[in-house]
Point group: C2
Chain length 308, copies 2
């Protein structure tokens, strides 16, 4: 078993997690929540316009008797109510429904009831690609536009618990670039080398960082062998793909989704108190369900660390 | 027939083209040249160390009686001799052999015998991706690192004859970004919009430019429909993918090559008097042969334009 099947198996081994849905009157989100419940991935608390939620549920043959509903027709209020449930530990993860991203993020960042931890948030897209023998963690393909070196450290640290939750205790991190050698005229390569140094000197821990790396050296052991990259700590076996900026990351993300047959993916926001699910309307049903599963396994990992 | 099969069919319809190989004592290059000859794609003039060329040819069962050989053991001299053959019209395209890229490019840019046209050179990678109903022209994934707006105009103009040579008279150009709307905080989107305006106002001709575009809107008609992008000139049917910088382009290029089953590609340098083939050792045999075919069809297109 590998990929999202393995993630779902992990989720099924833990106590059932609960997702608080912000403005739940969204057919695609309700379908995903229904499927997550059916597969034993998560329960849900639906916060939003109850009449509309019931109307949509009827249209998709969804049995609402299994779900707690909190009626709050005002979208902003609904988002604050939903995020507060996770803030208070009544739910384990927080999911965007029919609310625009800006207001959803406002609720995530709310100083009183939100999910701030102090550091910046970042996005991670987890991919199961046919022919690749492990999950790949792509970051940041959707949230931080032009990460500074400091941001990149935060992105790595935000991503480590996600990898750990998926069973990878000491992930290999590839700060990606067009080339695998430092070129002073290419800032992405200079920062990649600096991240590698910080890791070697114990400033970034819990992972192995080796960059700059071209995509082939990060992903393909044969290519690494061919290029005789024997002195590298990453030999085509990177887990975390750290992109130089959002253009590089997002173009790759969309390409993998749209041209690779049989690809599976799920995404969450990290750097928050609990995992945040921020799927877009263009994401498939399967991606939404995978994202809930990913959030659940990360929520379990976070809970275990709290207990320690 | 589509993709590189179609390109090779086009090549087979024209008079046989000839490639001048710079420092030809390279087993992978000789194998590709041999195959190109066999498939009727191109003849070759092999410039380099004749003894070594003969030695390698013997080891790969290559019959050299079909090829002209010019003995020049000195690498720099060999490159200048080879490029001069194309400069003088004795060969139709110029290919890198066992010479480092820096010195190879020096010969390309040589003021006396080189292939300068006045504008900057750029690289185009042509992809035939299973499930995509047309060829995709990715640029620039290997040569220009951080193109300015002016560079991007040159890149488009350099790529148009390549698309035309492949049968696309008025290609659709997608200046790519993480998002499909202009965001003043993302320079790539601002420049994409500016390229679109320049095209609309006749400053860039022979193509349809529409950007910024995310990868899904550039490549996937269903995604374009789903996002209700009905006001766009490109609706998932872009031919030329213009990348914001070399990191975005190169990471995508390597990902397509390494994770998409059955993908085919070929690459050339453009903006030169004749097409230049600059494959790397890590390129597959098939990619090298495809690159020769691509160069041949572009050489034919250039010849036709000269005749006009």
């Amino acid at each position: 078993m590998k990929g999202f099947d393995e993630i779902i198996a992990r989720v099924n081994e833990c106590a059932m997690k609960k997702v608080a849905v912000s403005v739940a009157q969204d057919d695609a989100v309700l379908e995903a929540v229904q499927e997550a419940k059916k597969r034993g991935i998560a329960d849900a608390i639906l916060v939003g316009d109850e009449a509309k939620i019931r109307e949509i549920a009827a249209s998709i043959q969804m049995d609402l008797s299994d779900f707690e509903i909190i009626n709050e027709p005002d979208m902003i209020q609904a988002s604050l109510t939903a995020v507060k449930l996770t803030h208070e530990g009544k739910a384990d993860m927080y999911m965007k429904g029919l609310i625009d991203t800006k207001n959803f993020l406002k609720s995530v960042l709310d100083k009183e009831v939100g999910l701030r931890t102090g550091g910046p948030l970042s996005h991670v897209a987890v991919f199961d690609i046919p022919g690749v023998d492990r999950l790949l963690f792509l970051t940041d393909v959707a949230f931080i536009t032009y990460p500074t070196l400091e941001d990149k450290v935060h992105i790595i640290n935000n991503t480590l618990p996600v990898a750990k939750a998926c069973g990878i205790d000491c992930p290999k991190v590839a700060p990606l670039a067009a080339v695998e050698v430092v070129n002073p005229k290419m800032p992405a390569t200079v920062e990649a080398a600096e991240l590698t140094r910080m890791n070697a000197e114990g400033e970034i821990t819990g992972c192995i960082v080796d960059g700059p790396l071209s995509f082939d050296l990060a992903i393909d052991a044969e290519a690494a062998k061919h290029k005789a990259a024997t002195d590298r700590k990453v030999q085509g076996d990177a887990d975390i793909m750290l992109f130089p900026d959002i253009h590089a990351g997002n173009l790759m993300y969309k390409a993998l989704v749209h041209v690779v047959p049989g690809v599976q993916n799920g995404c969450i926001l990290t750097g928050t108190k609990v995992p945040v699910i921020l799927t877009s309307r263009s994401d498939t049903f399967e991606t939404k369900v995978n994202s809930i599963a990913l959030a659940a396994v990360v929520a379990e990992e976070m809970r275990r660390n709290e207990v320690k």
